[in-house]
Amino acid sequence: MTQKVKINITVNGVPYEREVEPRLLLSDFIRHDLGLTGTHVGCEHGLCGACTILFDGQSVRSCIMFAVMADGHKIETVESLGTPEHLHPLQEAFMEKHALQCGFCTPGFLMTLVDYLGDNKNPTDEEIREAIDGNFCRCTGYENIVEAVKLAAKKMAAHS
């Protein structure tokens, strides 16, 4: 239990070398070992999507992975997107469309969607709902999130 394993992980472009217990969840590693608390934990069984991060560019749930599984891989968290002063276009769209209330689920949505919008530049409403179906939100009823994604797609097209 106390045996530790050395891992090398690049998170948001910063390389880290750490020793961790094999059973340490990737979500706990990100939040508590690295202090990147923008990634949230809502269910710890891979259903709610609040802990979604990018793993080598793909959106995954960090609460059902171990930190050791990320050895040698690249991770991006919500902190990689924008700052409060300079939000990412997706974050701007969430603000402008009132797509968040308590905000606990929001980082998970953002990380699911940066991945999704990278491959889908102009999604329909139904496609967006399918894309976010694995992310739970209790506050918004999802409609404003769908609107935000459409706005974000436009903003991101204008940026590129």
Partner: protein, 782 residues
């Protein structure tokens, strides 16, 4: 009523911080030397604890302590009631069996804490739980509400004569006479099942006892920080100002986070005090389902008496309300059910009787809606049954029974959760109904769309219901507003925020008076170090009660600013205005003094301080309404049901609501959207399921179906009706629960209408495809 910033859809102050992942939620907080708690919970719903062996757990490296009831001495006693008992209601009887902080001798629900572990890490604390051995003698469990009240039933509390926790009867008019005169009397049995609040952030707490400063700081996403502080101080023999409760960003509340004197806050404040180390506990989702309160289950036996024209003469309702194993929250939920059963219709005679029942299930306290959805479900389902019997249109039977717009204020004759007789302050229910009928094109649906769909073999149904939402109840809230030397404005209030946009809407209220930008108003909610008085965030009351207190404080600060500026600018107050962060002469805008400068001059370091003056551009104000402001609305829904799989698709959903004057219409719409999502979940997806032994069968999101993006209608079509409340100067009514209230009733009506050819009657909420299938099968067989 729109102002410069009031009544405007202003983007939220709090969003950039949240979006960038910089908002601090409870489990993001860490303190040096912090230790972690985990609870050993009972696997049995009802059992005698014969012995507990914690030896192995205590010996585990990294474990600091393992504690059971015997380690907590006098703390192990029933906690305080969270709300007063119903003594204001004539003839009401009740017993109080409040929560124990930790089970001693006996457990009464599955998930009740039996031991608590403190360890150097959360992982070790949870490991240690597996090394605690409890010898239980299982007992039969009391689960079914009706069986619980049968003579000879197993009892949850042995010292009581039965499982009855309370009995409250209220009436107006004379139902029996009404029924004798009626052309039609219908009797039905109606079930509503239990749901979770399921806030995305679970509950948690972090406590630090500073032994040198003799000061306890508690971080907790509570909806009731003042109550948590007061209860903690009282229990520990401290002054209230030796305990500071700070609510960090909180990931949703929806009711259960109102509770204090729960096992976690009682035991962990004690352990933080003893160990002199910060203690943190953050629930996981399974634990949330097991040990966070939930709500809704009731069984109703109803009667409705009508004329053959469909006018309602009387309504009678007897219902069992499940309180779970204890009743710390007393009667709030079932009293809301009583008040919301008849509130929007003219019903001369009403008789309503609650029997609150103890069961071996988790404790019931409010979840968004808090008894209101049940009242509306019961009344609307009975009206639907009457409409069918009388071959009337469901919209028409509602129209002829609604309270008319010239009737306000309307005394309801029913005492509600705030223990005053209900008064409907204002509204226009017929207008809401008409707006919805128009928006959903009801006539066209009935005359063209539905017949065509039916001819094509499709199962397309419509539902339409009206509802009220009692909001903004007392006792009071307060606020302190301070203009800083930086010219910006600070607002502190006692209510806590769980995502409702208070950092923006409260800022709008203050900014409107003080002539500053909304982004220059910093709102502090739920920090007893900044504001020490208040009741909490519940019953859709934050905007109405705290919002009004903020308005009143801002008016006071404005008066102070004008007085001071008048002397400095040598201009009469009535010629001055507050704008752009200055007090200026209205006709000579360059003749001005900045608010920040005024704030500094209001606190003279040397020189004259007039007798009787108060320093600072600062004021405190309180507001307590005589009774709550009642919001209302109407909802319609079109469902397309696959008659083979019984999977319904919501094709359209229209809602018109009246929350008086909205502070921020964008935020109001968001609140309604979220409420509707929960209502849809309650209607068809979500269900807290216990088996007959009291085992929780729905303790994960695999089993508890949380409504997802594809479960929602393509668009929520919303209309706003603004009938300002006369109870407060801003005309505000609450709206936080509106969406959740009518949805299950509308859903069932639409389902029945869609499945018209089966004759099915759905007098139960929390349905599922298989349940609808079995009801249809039953209807066809009959």
């Amino acid at each position: 009523m729109a102002g410069r910033v009031f009544h405007k859809s202003i983007l939220r102050n709090e969003d950039p911080q949240i979006l960038a992942g910089k908002a601090q939620y409870l489990d993001d907080l860490e303190l040096p030397g912090m230790v972690f708690a985990a609870f050993k919970r009972s696997d049995y719903a009802h059992a005698i604890i014969k012995s507990i062996d914690v030896g192995e757990a205590r010996a585990l490296p990294g474990v600091i302590g393992v504690y059971t009831a015997e380690d907590f001495g006098d703390l192990v006693k029933p906690g305080p009631l969270q709300v007063p008992p119903p003594t204001a209601i004539k003839g009401a009887t009740y017993v109080s069996r409040t929560l124990m902080p930790i089970a001693k001798d006996k457990v009464r629900y599955s998930g009740e804490p039996v031991a608590v572990v403190i360890a150097e890490s959360r992982y070790i604390a949870e490991d240690a739980l597996d090394y605690i051995y409890i010898d239980f003698e299982p007992l039969d469990a009391v689960i079914d509400l009706e069986k619980a009240m049968e003579p000879g039933s197993i009892k949850v509390h042995d010292d009581l004569p039965s499982n009855e926790g309370a009995h409250v009867t209220q009436s107006r008019g004379n139902y029996d006479e009404a029924a004798a005169k009626a052309d039609l009397v219908i009797k039905k049995k109606i079930y509503v099942d239990r749901v979770a609040a399921a806030a995305l952030e679970n509950r948690g707490i972090l406590i630090n006892w500073d032994d040198k400063a003799q000061m306890m700081t508690i971080w907790c996403g509570t909806q009731s920080p003042i109550t948590l502080r007061n209860a903690t101080a009282a229990r520990m023999g401290l002054f209230e100002n030796q305990v500071r409760v700070i609510t960090p960003f909180t990931g949703g509340g929806f009711g259960p986070k109102i509770n204090t004197s729960m096992p976690d806050d009682v035991l962990l404040t004690e352990l933080a005090f003893r160990l002199k180390r910060p203690v943190k506990w953050y629930e996981d989702r399974r634990e949330n389902f097991l040990s966070t309160t939930s709500e809704r289950d009731q069984v109703h036996f109803c009667e409705i008496a009508l004329t053959k024209e469909g006018k309602i003469l009387g309504f009678k309702d007897f219902f069992y309300h499940n309180s779970g194993a204890y009743n710390p929250y007393m009667m709030t939920v079932p009293l809301n059910t009583q008040t919301h059963t008849v509130s929007n219709y003219e019903i001369p005679s009403f008789h309503t009787e609650i029997v609150m029942v103890f069961t071996n299930e988790m404790v019931v306290t409010p979840v968004r809606g808090a008894g209101r959805p049940q009242g509306v479900f019961v009344m609307e389902r009975m009206i639907d049954a009457a409409a069918k019997e009388l071959k009337m249109d469901p919209a028409e039977i509602r129209r002829i029974n609604l309270i008319q717009p010239d009737a306000y204020p309307v005394s309801t004759g029913v005492i509600g959760q705030d223990f005053v007789e209900g008064v409907l302050d204002s509204g226009n229910y017929p207008s809401a109904l008409n707006m919805v009928l128009e928006m959903i094109d009801y006539k066209k649906f009935r005359e063209e769309i539905q017949p065509k769909a039916r001819a094509e073999g499709k199962h397309l149904g419509i539902g339409i219901c009206t509802f009220t939402e009692g909001t903004g109840v007392g006792p009071y809230e307060g606020a302190k507003i301070t203009v800083g030397g930086n010219g910006k404005v600070s607002v502190a209030t006692g209510v806590a925020t769980q995502g409702q946009a208070h950092y923006t809407s409260f800022a709008q209220v203050a900014a409107e008076q003080l002539g500053v930008e909304v982004k220059d108003v910093k709102v502090i909610t739920g920090d007893t170090g900044h504001f020490a008085w208040g009741a909490g965030t519940f019953a859709s009351r934050g905007a109405t009660v705290a919002g009004t207190a903020i308005h009143l404080a801002a008016v006071k600060v404005k008066a102070k600013a004008l007085k001071l500026a008048s002397a400095i600018l040598e201009t009469p107050e009535e010629e001055l205005e507050l704008a752009d962060g200055f007090v200026r002469v209205a006709d000579l805008p360059d003749k001005r003094v900045a608010l920040g400068d005024l704030a500094n001059r209001a606190n003279p370091m040397r020189g004259t301080f007039p007798p009787g003056a108060e320093p600072g551009l600062e004021a405190v104000a309180y507001y307590g309404p005589p009774y709550g402001a009642t919001g209302a609305g109407c909802m319609a829904m079109i469902l397309n049901v696959d008659a083979e799989t019984m999977k319904p698709k919501i094709e359209r959903l229209v809602i018109v609501h009246d929350c008086g004057t909205p502070i921020n219409p964008m935020v109001v719409e968001g609140q309604v959207h979220g409420g509707i999502q929960m209502g849809i979940g309650n209607a068809f997806f979500e269900k807290i399921a216990y088996d007959e032994t009291g085992q929780l069968l729905s303790a994960s999101f695999m089993d508890y179906l949380f409504p997802q993006a594809t479960d929602m209608p393509p668009k929520i079509e919303m209309g706003h009706l603004e009938v300002p409340s006369p109870l407060n100067p801003l005309g505000i009514k609450g709206v936080g629960e509106a969406g959740a209230i009518p949805t299950p009733a509308v859903f069932n009506q639409a389902l029945e209408d869609a499945l018209y050819d089966t004759g099915v009657e759905l007098m139960e909420s929390n349905l599922s495809p298989s349940k609808v299938f079995s009801y249809v099968k039953q209807a066809k067989g009959a």
